[in-house]
């Protein structure tokens, strides 16, 4: 700053100049690099969809919409359908969302509403975020060696005494929906917790002050004012958590049992779209490969739609802030 000023003083001839050729060129260069980086992402997305769709096209021609209502996946007869997988995907994800979502929002409230001293809540936050860093396959192993054995006696007891309830109508024989859902809940928890924490942080201080200034207790302030004010952000968090649950592959492939059936029972084995893809790809022949691509397209469609809804809800909450 100083040198510029003194320079101006010494040299009376100095006057603002036009940007040099180099300035213009580098300015354009930066613009094109940024534009290119954005463009590549869009191109890649579209290209992936195109590739999957073209690889799936024989199956689309062959099975059409029947693909979505058929529960068979019979390689020898070449009859393929993904109803059981769609059911398994949605059922496991919704259950995981119920558990992981409520815990996630609860943790977000616990960490953001002054229940803990600042430093302690930062440590807690770090621990919760660490959950997202654990590899999927480790979750799968933990599920097999810890969750399933722990669940077995509980499941046996529930099945014996409450077997008339459809949820408990089968016994747990190793892998099944329940252990998969428990592990999946833990896996989506950091997503839901982090995003809803942001939503709570966006509730303006003046709104919190208004609630506490009225003599609201912490519980009243949270339930009656803070949660409703942050509701669209929390909804967005839940939907994005759902999107993550839908696409989760490895841990589910290890835990869910991979059996083609539509059952309400928590202890029955099931199958999801992602676990179908993971387990069948390595040995698939040409016809099955096309069917798998078709299933991949269906999964892609579901997750894109869910994530788009989540992003839309989040953008609504940002708009609200602006007003």
């Amino acid at each position: 700053m100083k040198s510029v000023m003194s320079g101006a003083k010494n040299d009376d001839e100095f006057s603002p100049s036009a940007p040099s050729f180099y300035d213009v060129l580098s300015d354009r260069g930066v613009r094109w690099i940024a534009f290119g980086a954005g463009g590549i992402v869009v191109f890649l997305g579209l290209y992936i969809i195109f590739e999957i769709a073209s690889a799936a096209s024989p199956a689309i021609k062959e099975y059409g919409l029947r693909f979505f209502v058929d529960t068979r996946w019979d390689v020898s007869r070449q009859e393929f359908g993904i109803l059981a997988e769609i059911w398994g995907t949605l059922y496991s994800s919704l259950l995981a969302l119920l558990i992981g979502g409520s815990f996630g929002v609860g943790i977000a409230l616990f960490l953001s509403q002054g229940y803990l001293p600042n430093r302690l809540s930062q440590i807690f936050r770090l621990v919760v975020e660490m959950l997202a860093a654990i590899p999927s396959v480790v979750y799968g192993l933990w599920g097999i060696y810890v969750v399933i054995p722990a669940l077995r006696p509980v499941a046996a007891w529930l099945h014996e005494y409450f077997g008339f309830i459809p949820l408990f109508s089968t016994s747990l024989s190793g892998p099944g929906l329940a252990p998969a859902v428990i592990v999946l809940s833990i896996m989506i928890l950091p997503t839901v917790a982090a995003i809803s924490q942001d939503a709570f942080a966006q509730v303006p201080q003046k709104v919190k002050e208004a609630a506490y200034g009225m003599g609201a207790t912490r519980k009243q302030a949270i339930l009656k004012v803070i949660l409703p004010t942050a509701s669209s952000g929390v909804m967005g968090a839940i939907v994005l958590g759902f999107g993550r649950a839908l696409g989760e592959t490895m841990a589910l492939a290890m835990l869910i049992g991979n059996v083609n059936q539509v059952s309400l029972s928590l202890f029955a084995p099931a199958k999801t779209l992602a676990s179908l893809l993971a387990s069948n790809f390595p040995e698939a022949g040409q016809v099955e490969l096309a069917a798998l691509m078709y299933a991949a397209l269906a999964l892609l469609f579901i997750t894109v739609v869910v994530n788009a809804i989540g992003a839309y809800i989040m953008s609504l909450s940002k708009k609200q802030e602006a007003i």
């Binding site: 200034g213 003599g215 609201a216």
Partner: protein
């Protein structure tokens, strides 16, 4: 347990208080120090708030007038690093005594803030909020109407009570916040620069309203506008700020009847401030 005991004590002393005479002190704040962490924000300020009057807090920015106001109903407790040395007597109790629940204090001493801050709910629900959290069992509609009338807002909103409070204009929102604050029947109303976000017409409406509010409530108002203090306050407290080695520490300079303070200030600092020789 504690809370119930202190409710009983506070409520008992409401009874006692009403039997005493008019010019009684509603809140007697003796503040030795207010700290934010290690930073001493306010020192040596004894601020009695007289019952049934409007007390104005004036002074340059950073003089701690808002901090003192917010310590009168323990709003500062929301800031984790806040610490106060001193006591604030209200209804015969030190509201900073360990047995007193700040929630209870805030139910008796309501607050209106600088920025209008209605909740994202209907006009009706905004006003009913305080009644509901206090488990009010009587005629809610009547109570809501009464509060809106006291805030001079009823005629403007009576046909749209179900609309969002956020859809109102800034001045209307602030009057809605006043209605919300008075609905549960507090004893004292604290106002932290309630007009600073409003235009002159809305400001004038609120000032007029304050003269009516005085009939029912003891009011303390922070304002950066000296004319406003002269127009509305019966008693005025002038705060100033010492600046030494980059530290700012606010304190009460003098407090007196508004006309006396403005016409014949005892302190040189006050005289200079009123003449606009520093801000």
């Amino acid at each position: 347990m504690n809370m119930n005991a202190s409710v009983a004590r506070l409520n008992d002393s409401v009874g006692d208080e009403t039997q005493r005479n008019e010019a009684e002190v509603a809140i007697d704040a003796k503040i030795n120090s207010i700290y934010y962490g290690k930073f001493r924000a306010v020192r040596d300020s004894h601020v009695p708030i007289r019952k049934g009057e409007i007390t104005g807090f004036i002074g340059p920015s950073g003089c701690g007038k808002s901090t003192v106001l917010r310590s009168l109903n323990r709003m500062n407790d929301l800031i984790p690093i806040f610490k106060m040395d001193g006591d604030v007597h209200f209804m015969g109790q030190d509201i900073y005594a360990p047995s007193i629940d700040p929630v209870l204090v805030r139910r008796h001493i309501g607050m209106v803030f600088q920025q209008p801050n209605p909740f994202a709910m209907s006009i009706y629900d905004n006003v009913a909020f305080g009644l509901r959290i206090n488990r009010f069992k009587g005629d809610m509609d009547e109570r809501v109407e009464g509060a809106l009338r006291q805030a001079a807002l009823w005629d403007e909103v009576k046909d749209k009570l179900k609309q969002s409070g956020l859809a109102l204009s800034g001045g209307q929102q602030q009057r809605l916040c006043i209605a919300r604050a008075v609905a549960p029947g507090p004893t004292v109303l604290l106002m932290d620069e309630p007009c600073s976000a409003l235009d002159p017409i809305a400001t004038r409406k609120i000032e007029n309203l304050m003269h009516d509010l005085k009939e029912h409530y003891t009011v303390a108002i922070v304002t950066h506008n000296m004319q406003q203090a002269q127009r509305v306050a019966d008693t005025t407290a002038f705060f100033s700020v010492d600046i030494s080695d980059g530290q700012r520490c606010g304190h009460l300079v003098e407090m007196g009847r508004t006309n006396e303070l403005f016409e014949n200030p005892r302190e040189e600092l006050t005289r200079k401030y009123i003449r606009g020789e520093f801000s």
